[in-house]
């Protein structure tokens, strides 16, 4: 079963959306109580200068309950998960980075297209347990090397692939 199949299974995604919604409501309560819009998060944000992410505005929009706007916006996918906003927020209860993770999870659960290479990585985890197969690499003088050429032991991956896949694909469908 491919990820495209998984994410189009509307019924089970409803349960999943409900779960992420609960998470977002909890976050909304927290930011309403604590965030005072000082914008310290934005001042140190790694995605601010380059990609115009303003975490304090994300927090403000969540405070007003504008979740759909946020979920549909591309800007949530510019966060580099550097955790500086969470680390430096003077109100320790507020973590813009965690709000952004929840919003991205919601975008995926709502059947919006998963951007870039995420789908490929997810598919790879489902089939071999890792985000990619072992790669051939080149040396500075252009020789190709595989993992085994370098005397490294066999790679560790799930032993019973069928069992591993069963739990994980259930998770991908029902409770992202």
């Amino acid at each position: 079963m491919s990820i495209v199949d998984l994410t189009s299974m509307g019924e089970s995604q409803a349960e999943l959306r409900e779960e992420i919604n609960d998470r977002l409501s909890r976050l909304q309560d927290e930011v309403s109580d604590y965030c005072f819009q000082c914008a310290k998060c934005t001042s140190g944000c790694e995605a601010h200068k380059l990609l115009e992410l303003e975490p304090h505005k994300v927090v403000a929009l969540l405070k007003r309950g504008l979740i759909d706007e946020l979920v549909n916006s591309d800007v949530i996918w510019t966060c580099m998960s550097c955790f500086k906003c969470r680390e430096r927020c003077p109100q320790k209860k507020v973590a813009p980075v965690d709000i952004l993770f929840a919003l991205k999870n919601m975008a995926v659960a709502s059947g919006k297209q998963i951007p870039g290479k995420y789908t490929g990585m997810l598919q790879s985890i489902l089939s071999i347990g890792l985000i990619q197969e072992t790669q051939s690499v080149i040396t500075r003088d252009n020789k190709t090397n595989k993992r085994e050429d370098l005397g490294l032991p066999a790679i560790s991956k799930p032993v019973d692939a069928a069992k591993f896949q069963m739990v994980l694909s259930k998770l991908a469908v029902e409770k992202v």
Binding site: R86, E87, A102, P115, Y118, L130, Q132, D141, L150, S156
Partner: protein, 289 residues
């Protein structure tokens, strides 16, 4: 001799072979025995934007594999180390979630109980082995080598769940490098992100972050840039030429893993440390052999 299972994650064992080679070469010299276990998977952190419960499940699964063999995990990748640390934090503080995840682990005959510890390259060297022990093995000191360190965001933050180094002024790599004879120096961009987390969806911007940081390092005249993260190293070393193009600059910064420098200072041969796999101009360094 202390024993650890080496938890490799995804990026190191599938392409960042220099890190794995230099780890397997150097830690046994420091009386650390590394054991390989079957069955590990991705830690789940790369999937956090897609599905956070999947991240939690995958992390718990890997910790449970270590528990089954009753062995602590050595986790060289900061991203994996963060995922596993956060998983321990959640499982310890949220009984409901712990029961739910354990319910999912049953099918592979696994259980999370919370009995294993995890260590990263930096705290294993600095806190557990210690600089006194490291100093005894130095054969070829890295005299006067001017070093810019890069810890990687996931190793330093968020401190609330417990990270191996200080969140605003990490110095453990510097302490280790000084014992090797080198001269690590702080610089304004030290805590800047490498950009890797958005390589999957915004590759140009990701490389620009890499290029901007390396450009500043180059301008400040450092001899070498040292990292401990396979994701960061892929940006700074493997993709250095492309990163340079994004900032219209010819970058020629030697980038090495901390464990490669450690090996060189211990007198280990370059090939054994995978130094021919670094794509940045490490020949400029004139150290080793």
């Amino acid at each position: 001799m202390k024993k650890y299972a080496l938890y490799p994650g995804c990026v190191m064992p599938t392409e960042q072979y220099a890190y794995e080679l230099s780890i397997r070469e150097t830690f046994p010299l420091l009386d650390i025995e590394l054991v390989d276990l079957e069955g590990f998977s991705c830690c789940g952190e790369p999937m956090k934007s897609v599905n956070q419960l999947m991240t939690l499940y995958l992390s718990a699964r890997n910790l449970a594999i270590g528990e089954k063999q009753d062995i602590d995990l050595f986790v060289p990748c900061p991203m994996c180390h963060l995922a596993l640390s956060e998983c321990k934090h959640v499982m310890e503080n949220n009984v409901e979630m712990r029961d739910r995840v354990n319910g999912m682990l049953v099918s592979e005959d696994l259980q999370y109980k919370g009995s294993v510890d995890i260590v990263n390259t930096v705290d294993l060297l600095h806190d557990h082995i210690g600089v006194d022990q490291i100093e005894k093995h130095v054969r070829k000191p890295l005299d006067g080598l001017k070093i810019a360190t890069h810890y990687g965001c996931h190793l330093i933050r968020p401190s609330e769940i417990g990270r191996p180094v200080d969140s605003e002024n990490p110095q453990k790599m510097e302490t280790v490098l000084k014992i090797l004879g080198a001269e690590p120096l702080d610089y304004a961009e030290k805590l800047d992100c490498c950009g890797a987390p958005i390589l999957a969806n915004l590759p140009e911007s990701a490389l620009t972050k890499t290029g901007q940081k390396l450009q500043r390092v180059q301008e400040q005249g450092f001899d070498v840039f040292v990292d401990v993260c396979p994701w960061c190293h892929r940006m700074f070393d493997s993709k250095q030429v492309k990163a340079g193009e994004t900032v219209a600059s010819k970058l020629e910064v030697p980038v090495v893993y901390l464990t490669q420098l450690l090996g060189l200072a211990f007198g280990v041969k370059k090939e054994k440390l995978g130094l021919d796999l670094n794509l940045s101009p490490v020949d400029k360094l004139k150290i080793g052999d």
